[in-house]
């Protein structure tokens, strides 16, 4: 991928990275949206959607509670979607390799958010006297610079991740040894386990929840039979 091709992806990564915490938290940063949008940028929305759905299942495990540290899925979804959507069709290693790249990006990007928050705290400490004096300018500068830095953070993470993972994924896909069905099956099993485990973690305290899940499975079975 040339720099000209990466720049729109980086801009998308920046905007969706911003959505995770800073603005507007409309969940356009969820992987199911981010990866699909990146796929659309590449000209392959269904490809972006496929990896987006897999990433979304895994992302169910990490809900953004308060000050907890979690992976950043906005930029990671963009990287995963762009990488997968740009692979030729029918390559067995494409999905696992791109998913691995997206998960690593999410982890690194989560760390970059922690760094950004520390940086903002540092700026806050330097302007504390002005803030305590009720300076509007100091508050606006702190707030708007925090958002600008977050935008920059998302762009940098996306550019660096694309620069590292685009050639790496290409190389992995070229020498991939496992057969297509098995490769997809492993990815799907991983995603299903994480999603199921996440749902249990989140909802296990809700009374009768297993019955509702079982009812859902029954509906699925009925659909399977009648189709």
């Amino acid at each position: 991928m040339s720099l000209l091709e990466v720049l729109p992806i980086a801009l998308l990564g920046a905007l969706l990275g911003l959505d995770v915490v800073s603005f507007p938290q409309a969940m356009i940063s969820r992987p199911i949206v981010a990866a699909t949008a990146a796929g659309a940028f590449i000209g392959n929305p269904p490809g972006g959607l496929l990896i987006g759905v897999v990433l979304e299942m895994i992302a169910l495990d990490t809900l953004p509670f308060g000050a907890s540290r979690y992976p950043e899925w906005g930029s990671a979804g963009v990287v995963g979607g762009a990488l997968f959507a740009s692979q030729p069709g029918g390559m067995p290693g494409a999905l696992p390799a791109c998913l691995l790249a997206a998960l690593l990006t999410a982890s690194i990007s989560g760390w970059s958010m922690v760094m950004l928050r520390r940086m903002i705290a540092g700026r806050l400490a330097r302007t504390r006297d002005q803030l305590e004096a009720g300076s509007r300018d100091a508050l606006l500068l702190l707030h708007l610079s925090g958002m600008s830095l977050d935008l920059l953070r998302g762009a940098l993470v996306t550019i660096v991740a694309m620069a590292i993972f685009a050639p790496l994924v290409r190389a992995i896909v070229a020498v991939w040894g496992s057969e297509s069905a098995a490769s997809h099956a492993v990815v799907v099993v991983i995603a299903a386990i994480v999603a199921g485990g996440a749902l249990w973690k989140v909802f296990h305290s809700v009374r009768h929840v297993l019955w509702f899940f079982a009812a859902g499975l029954l509906v699925w079975s009925a659909l399977l039979i009648t189709r």
Binding site: F23, D61, G93, G134, S145, D150, A181, H208, A214
Partner: protein
Amino acid sequence: MTTVSPARDLPLRVKLGMYFRLFALQGSWNYETLNGTGVGFAIEPALRLLPGGLNGQQYRAALARESRYFNAHPYLAGVAVGALTRAELDGVEASRIERFRTALAGPLGSVGDRLVWASWLPFCSLVAIGVYGAGGTALAVVGTFLLLYNAGHFLLRAWGLRIGLSRGLNVASALGNPVLRQGPVYIGRAAALVGGVALPLALQRIVGPGRVLVGGIIVAAFIGIVLLALLRERAEGWRIALGVLAVFVLYSVLT
């Protein structure tokens, strides 16, 4: 006993300004003041109405006070922003406002986390995954998710600001709203129901039609889910996924 002063009717442009700023509430989120500076940022347009305006002593004192440490779920922070605006404009004494801020932070965080992050978000994700499993196009899947999720999101922020502005320091009773108290239970059950249909449908679509693998995948997934559920908080599923995937990729490259 707390007295309620008549609701102060803010100009529409001020209310809209505050509502828009609520979406950027976490723009300067940090580990020291959490979203305190964001509350100051969101409340600032209303503080200009204080006697003396932008250069007045009251404005500066209120802005400093409202920009200190605060923690709330971002979608429900509007409740605090509205209530604190009303208190500042009604001239409530500073010590009382500070006590109110401290008291309100915890409940707004826990109620919002339960309702939004641990209920509404997973529910909307599962619905979108279900639309994908049912054969939906990219536009249908993304559109369903964004419209459904943000219908709740935008309404919750607007409700929070409105209730805060109208009730002022008496806003705590609004947290007893049935949607906030019982919502997570009902949404949780709905999410479980949707998850039971959506996850296998999506897995089928990813693997492809007519594959005998589907049965094996579901059995393997079921065993994995039980093991992961037994581990509970001791294991993070996404980290396990990363590790297993890395090993699988390495194996597939080396063989």
